[in-house]
Symmetry: C2
Subunit: 207 residues, 2 copies
């Protein structure tokens, strides 16, 4: 790894840390440069704008979610519901340790950016739209594999289930952040299996 | 209504409109004054700070949610699940008309403020904490009444259900905003009844 790529990565890291600790609009390019210990000229060598850096930060957040949370549980050989249980456990453990070190549960970095920026910056909204749809596709694949292996019934609506589970996780993180209480999320673990929809149920429930 | 109270209310209205169309940190006191058509002196006559105005805006948003969305359905004599269905329908209708007029689904005004501000402003976080807990208490009462009337089983965990339903609604609004698509929320209506927890199930699901 060259020193050059290190500086670029340090900017991405600083953007993630500072934006997630506060918000996008309270972090300026000068503060990012101070954090990395380089000049503004260096910033503009790597990124055209704070938006441009933020797009890179969103990619890195999504990559880190897969690396640190999704892959360790979904590549294991646990039963499907246990996988979801462990996923939520590991997210809550992360929020617990974050709160211990900073006093705050900052919540989902992607959800935070979305609610702050989606009506403000169409380029960032489109990036988040893409990443959240990737996340749904990931969860959909996990559920489809469980259908193929016989762990879930054939009539499981895997896409609707994946979308609902992600909405629920984001909503739990939102309330957990509002209450500054990671345990809120942990206590509502039971909702995830209930949001796996079977097609025969859909007509009953929706009618 | 006096002219004085009108100006104060106009500031609250302007804060709700401008903050929700963009974000808290992109709206300044000068823009609020321009929007209302008065001077900064007038602003500081009514409010000590933008935070102070925002606290009043949060109260008004919560009051308007009760007036426009919760009371019309929950004071009706519909079956309990139909009430929740109508609630989500009316929220989606609102987002549809908002998108038609502005091009954007701005999502839940309280959720937006929470994810932007909860790690940044402890006074605002505490206000949102209080309001979201009031909302949970409201939904809890609705579910408790349905238990008393025999519409839901005696072993319904009304508080856990209320918390989960609210998390789910906030998560659907978050993804709907990210996708700029109110229909996303409407399509996942079916999850609400599934999140009404019965105590006997809890042990099975969580284990």
């Amino acid at each position: 790894m060259t020193r050059k790529s290190n500086v670029k990565e340090q900017f991405v890291r600083a953007a993630i840390d500072l934006i997630c600790a506060r918000s996008y609009n309270t972090v300026g390019v000068q503060e990012l440069c101070d954090n990395v210990g380089v000049t503004k000229g260096s910033f503009y060598h790597y990124f055209r704008s704070k938006r441009d850096l933020t797009l890179a930060a969103i990619d890195e957040i999504w990559a880190s979610y897969q690396r640190n949370f999704l892959e360790p549980v979904f590549k294991s050989h646990l039963p499907i519901l246990e996988k979801f249980h462990r996923l939520l456990e590991s997210v809550c453990d992360y929020y617990d340790s974050e709160k211990k070190s900073t006093g705050r549960m900052a919540g989902c970095k992607l959800g935070n950016m979305s609610l702050e920026l989606s009506t403000q910056d169409e380029v960032i909204r489109q990036k988040l739209d893409f990443v959240f749809k990737e996340w749904i596709t990931y969860l959909n694949s996990v559920l489809e594999e469980a259908v193929v292996s016989g762990e879930l019934p054939d009539n499981t609506d895997t896409r609707a289930s994946a979308q609902s589970i992600l909405a629920y996780l984001e909503g739990l993180a939102l309330l957990g952040k509002t209450f500054n209480d990671p345990s809120f999320m942990r206590e509502h673990d039971w909702g995830i299996p209930k949001l796996i929809l079977h097609k025969s149920e859909q007509a009953d429930v929706v009618s």
